[in-house]
């Protein structure tokens, strides 16, 4: 009897210790998490604070955000960097790219998910293969092809919206196909068959029944394409040379080259560039996260 009691006491003591340990561990890991979050968002806070400071403060390191500087910086960046023009170009190019790449990827993604055709494996591998090619390898040939098209066919390709839009669309089609393929594959075949029994052709079943069901996946792919196009620098840098068609990253890079230490304006511009994508992302993050993770978790 006595030994029994001793054992239960020991066990409960041990158990308490274990629970306490677990609690302490939990607090510790949450504290570490919030410290990490603090470090993570600090650069962004610093970007915004810097955008409210004046040039001397930024260069000497005595940064004091002031209302006056906010007005000056966020006004001057539009005139000094010619930001409005770049912003317009980026919007036109990225929106068109998103629409074109998405339309093409939706069709191919559906075909890849639903049909077992001769060459479907090859097509799947080729789409993944495009991701392995270093951009720089086809950048120069592409540039020269664009020049040749201009010489032989008389269609201007370099320094035009459509040249960049075609390039970007082709860039982001392959990965979008993979995002969408996963989504289409997860829609039960029965739904499509039911629609066909009701008299739809396969194509109209696709348009009327499957597409609406795949909207989360389509949104996910659209966000992917837009964010990637918003971020592209190398090709835009080479394929455009006049401000009429240059995008924001090119514009900012040119500005950095010309006015090295105008961090006041650059940080204001950085803030303004980040806001649209941040808004898009956080409004639609539910779709995007489910779209990206669906493919990953299912393999």
């Amino acid at each position: 009897m006595i030994t029994d009691k001793v054992i239960t006491q020991n066990v409960s003591k041990k158990y308490l210790n274990y629970r306490q340990k677990k609690k302490i561990k939990r607090y510790l890991s949450l504290t570490m998490l919030w410290i990490f979050i603090g470090i993570t968002i600090f650069p962004l806070i610093w970007m915004v604070i810097s955008s409210m400071s004046n040039q001397e403060g930024l260069l000497t390191g005595k940064i004091q955000p002031q209302l006056k500087n906010i007005l000056i910086n966020y006004h001057d960046m539009w005139t000094n960097i010619n930001f409005g023009l770049y912003f317009k170009n980026s919007l036109i190019i990225d929106a068109s790219t998103t629409i074109i790449a998405l339309s093409i990827a939706v069709l191919a993604g559906y075909a890849l998910a639903r049909f077992k055709f001769i060459g479907s494996n090859l097509f799947g591998i080729a789409t993944l293969g495009t991701q392995m090619i270093p951009g720089i390898l086809f950048l120069l040939p592409l540039y020269l092809i664009f020049l040749q098209i201009q010489q032989t066919l008389g269609i201007k390709m370099v320094n035009t919206y459509h040249g960049i839009i075609i390039t970007y669309s082709a860039f982001y089609i392959p990965f979008s196909i993979w995002i969408l393929r996963g989504f289409f594959a997860s829609i039960p075949l029965e739904i499509e068959e039911a629609a066909r029994i009701d008299g739809c052709t396969q194509f109209s079943a696709f348009i009327r029944v499957i597409l609406p069901l795949a909207i989360p996946g389509i949104i996910a792919a659209a966000i992917y394409i837009f964010l990637m196009a918003w971020d592209e620098l190398l090709f835009a840098w080479v394929l455009t040379t006049s401000a009429d068609v240059q995008t924001i990253p090119v514009g900012i890079r040119l500005f950095v080259g010309n006015y090295q230490n105008r961090y006041d304006l650059l940080m204001a511009a950085s803030t303004v560039v980040t806001i649209p994508v941040a808004l898009i992302f956080f409004l639609l993050q539910k779709y995007f996260i489910s779209g990206m993770t669906a493919g990953a978790v299912k393999g």
Binding site: M47, F117, Q131, P141, A170, P174, A185, V256
Partner: protein, 310 residues
């Protein structure tokens, strides 16, 4: 033959549906790539640029120049860039995986402010990478940069302010922003995968007396293997082909961080477009691609079992 015909007829719609994608990929990816492969065998520089594919054919000389020619300045720079890219790729991907795994593990629990924590942690991922380069370049500045101020003036961790944008520290100055930008995506993917693991497995492991580390190694990691595989593949390709951060951080947009931080992509693009060495540039790109394909082959061997396509 009949089977082929039947299959083709049955799947006519599929072929029509993939046609636009094929045309786009041929036009922008594969035909220019084939030309790029051919250019790597040509003496294509500023003098012969206008001849394009009719430039003098020199066989493998470009490859020889990059790999073995001791008199070539390209060779030294390229080898440095290869070394830096290897360090950069391993360091960023390993750190991102560890940080992502840790964060996913913490975020899996219920706690107050979990939603806010997740959203705040996703923030770096929406920042365009050229802004990442610009912003961190600004913060790394030796004299007035905030990082040195925090490390030296406020926390006294270091005795005097190091140079981050010149010399051997450059590689750190590009690795940390890359980790900062990439961990959110890894975290969110791992979190989604972690949530599919049933608690039963952990309880069973606990009954068997497994420690935290044992649970990680014998329960969590095997379940996560497919996701980690995907993340490693895309992370690897992403960092080997990474350009924007380095291009924006150094040399006021010229993108030359010196021998200690130059990456293969910035090296090749500088040699190709600033110094008009297109033949050698193409040869370097070809070698880069072969390297990536070889790594993908190794990757496939390692993760083959956990890939469940379709």
């Amino acid at each position: 033959m009949d089977y082929l015909k039947q299959n083709f007829k049955k799947n006519k719609l599929a072929y029509i549906l993939i046609l636009p994608a094929i045309v786009a990929m041929l036009m922008i990816h594969f035909i220019p790539m084939a030309e790029g492969l051919y250019i790597s065998l040509l003496k294509l520089n500023q003098y012969t640029l206008l001849k394009f594919l009719h430039a003098p054919f020199i066989g493998l000389e470009n490859f020889y120049t990059i790999l073995f020619d001791p008199s070539s300045t390209l060779r030294i720079g390229f080898m440095d860039a290869v070394r830096n890219t290897i360090i950069y790729t391993i360091a960023t991907n390993l750190s991102v995986l560890i940080i992502g795994l840790w964060l996913a593990h913490v975020l899996k629990q219920q706690f107050i402010g979990r939603g806010i924590a997740r959203t705040l942690l996703l923030l770096p991922w929406v920042v365009p990478s050229y802004v990442v380069g610009l912003l961190w370049g600004f913060m790394w500045r030796q004299d007035s940069g905030i990082i040195n101020k925090i490390l030296v003036d406020y926390l006294h961790i270091l005795p005097n302010k190091p140079f981050w944008l010149i010399g051997p520290n450059v590689i750190i100055a590009i690795i940390i922003p890359t980790i900062w930008r990439s961990f959110p995506m890894t975290m969110i993917m791992l979190l989604a995968a972690l949530q599919t693991i049933s608690d039963d497995y952990y309880e069973a492991a606990e009954i068997d007396g497994a420690t935290g580390w044992q649970k990680l190694i014998y329960v969590t990691l095997p379940f996560l293997k497919p996701v980690i595989g995907t993340l490693i593949l895309f992370g690897m390709i992403g960092s080997i082909y990474s350009y924007n951060i380095v291009a924006m951080m150094f040399g006021n947009g010229a993108g030359y961080p010196g021998d200690w931080g130059d990456l293969v992509m910035t090296n090749i693009s500088r040699n190709s477009f600033n110094m008009w060495q297109f033949g050698t540039g193409a040869a370097a790109s070809v070698m880069l691609m072969i390297g990536v394909l070889a790594l993908t082959g190794i990757w496939y061997k390692v993760f083959k079992d956990s890939l469940t396509m379709q």
